[in-house]
Symmetry: C2
Subunit: 291 residues, 2 copies
Amino acid sequence: MELIDGNKISREILDEVKTEVAGLDGGRPCVAFIRVGEDPASVSYVKKKDRVARELGIESRLNVLPETVSQEALFDLIDGFNADPAVSGILIQSPLPGHLDELAAFRRVRPGKDVDGFHTVNLGLLCQEDDAGFVACTPAGILELLRRSSVSLAGKHVVVLGRSLIVGKPVALLAVQKKDWANATVTVCHSRTANLPDVTRRADVLIAAIGKAGFVTGDMVKDGAVVIDVGINRVPDDSRKSGYRLTGDVEFDSVSPKTAKITPVPGGVGPMTVAMLMKNTVKAFRRQHEV
Amino acid sequence: MELIDGNKISREILDEVKTEVAGLDGGRPCVAFIRVGEDPASVSYVKKKDRVARELGIESRLNVLPETVSQEALFDLIDGFNADPAVSGILIQSPLPGHLDELAAFRRVRPGKDVDGFHTVNLGLLCQEDDAGFVACTPAGILELLRRSSVSLAGKHVVVLGRSLIVGKPVALLAVQKKDWANATVTVCHSRTANLPDVTRRADVLIAAIGKAGFVTGDMVKDGAVVIDVGINRVPDDSRKSGYRLTGDVEFDSVSPKTAKITPVPGGVGPMTVAMLMKNTVKAFRRQHEV
């Protein structure tokens, strides 16, 4: 069993992006973060993204709106960034408070500044296998992680556990593309799937994105499979100062001995998501400035 | 084995649409067809759609452009229909001659008039499970055929053979939706899939859309499966006046005895495609007139 080191691989990508940013003509890329309220996980994610952007020479604007903000005020902020030529990309940290329409907010972002890849148009471009679009950072990060770990997907059976708009569907659409680095046979399964272990055991590459701590157990995985654990679940843990620990959707102890390669949580997919956000921001800048 | 009668089921739908059209306030729906050149299959498809529209009380405009038409002239025609409030829906008959950019033409149609469901925005809406969009007629027709044949998909394994933008991907995205009539586990396989018969034999419902006559043989199908044959292949046949006969992607003689239900070719999916186009046209009209 080999551990896929997301920290190391994302570091490589960040170094590449830093070099690229330093060589850019026409100014510096800029990413605008919108966070609503003080959800601790959101605070921590946005802080991390903001810090990484600055390290890379990408300008960063952090905008915090109160928990009670109206949809109109949120839209006004988005509209301002859409219109501002200095802003390359816009990221709205999910989840938003329940009274706000999250999908409507994602759709309010100009497709060319949608570095999160959640806009309707960017999903459509992904279906059309058109690289002009922006692919959501986590799915894009998973494919990049596999590529840089020399896991070829062509003809292989990729099983995606979970059908969310954020991970499950876009990663399935990426893996099935008619491209040299994709060309996989892809199965999407979920909570309603009959005989789920029977389905997941068929996977050459299993991508777990179901959002349930330790859901995938050893009996659900084929010997020699590659397992990508997308879950980031906070499990109560009194032995930690924070009162919780992060665990994935995969029960690491029973699954890892059977795998050829596996990502840990934390330190697997998570850092890749941040790295791909930076890549998307530079891509947006290049497109807007034609450099 | 039970034959799924696409002619009968599509007739039911057309009767429903006819009744609906007769009761519409605010005018009649209108579909504009654009055909380029004289490809015999395209001539025949458009003629059929045009005739069915008229039968239903839907206005129809048939526009034939010469084989040598420029992209600009094609765009001009599309733009005119986009702007014309009397036109509810626009259908560009595929395939276009090689010098034209087909995807660009599909994207030129206003999403709200894209009754073919090929526009980037409508694909994105399908990913987002947003019923406001238009779903491509063949995939929508397949799901409707299954529903009206009392084939429940929930928890079942649907295997889609083919990953085209027109059929394979949208039908997979439909079947996996978190909706009562969907909720399937979905596998997309294709020409690059390893051990293809092993994959197709897992299907409770097998949807063949690979465009190769008789590709699916009896050994590739599980006993009791439901088989949907999307292929419409013209095979040379000297015994026919036309010089050819239509055959599906499924070798009917070896496959049908193993199935619970199967669609014939012709008379299966084909007529459903036309019926769904009419439904989409009425939907477009209703949206534009808010009735």
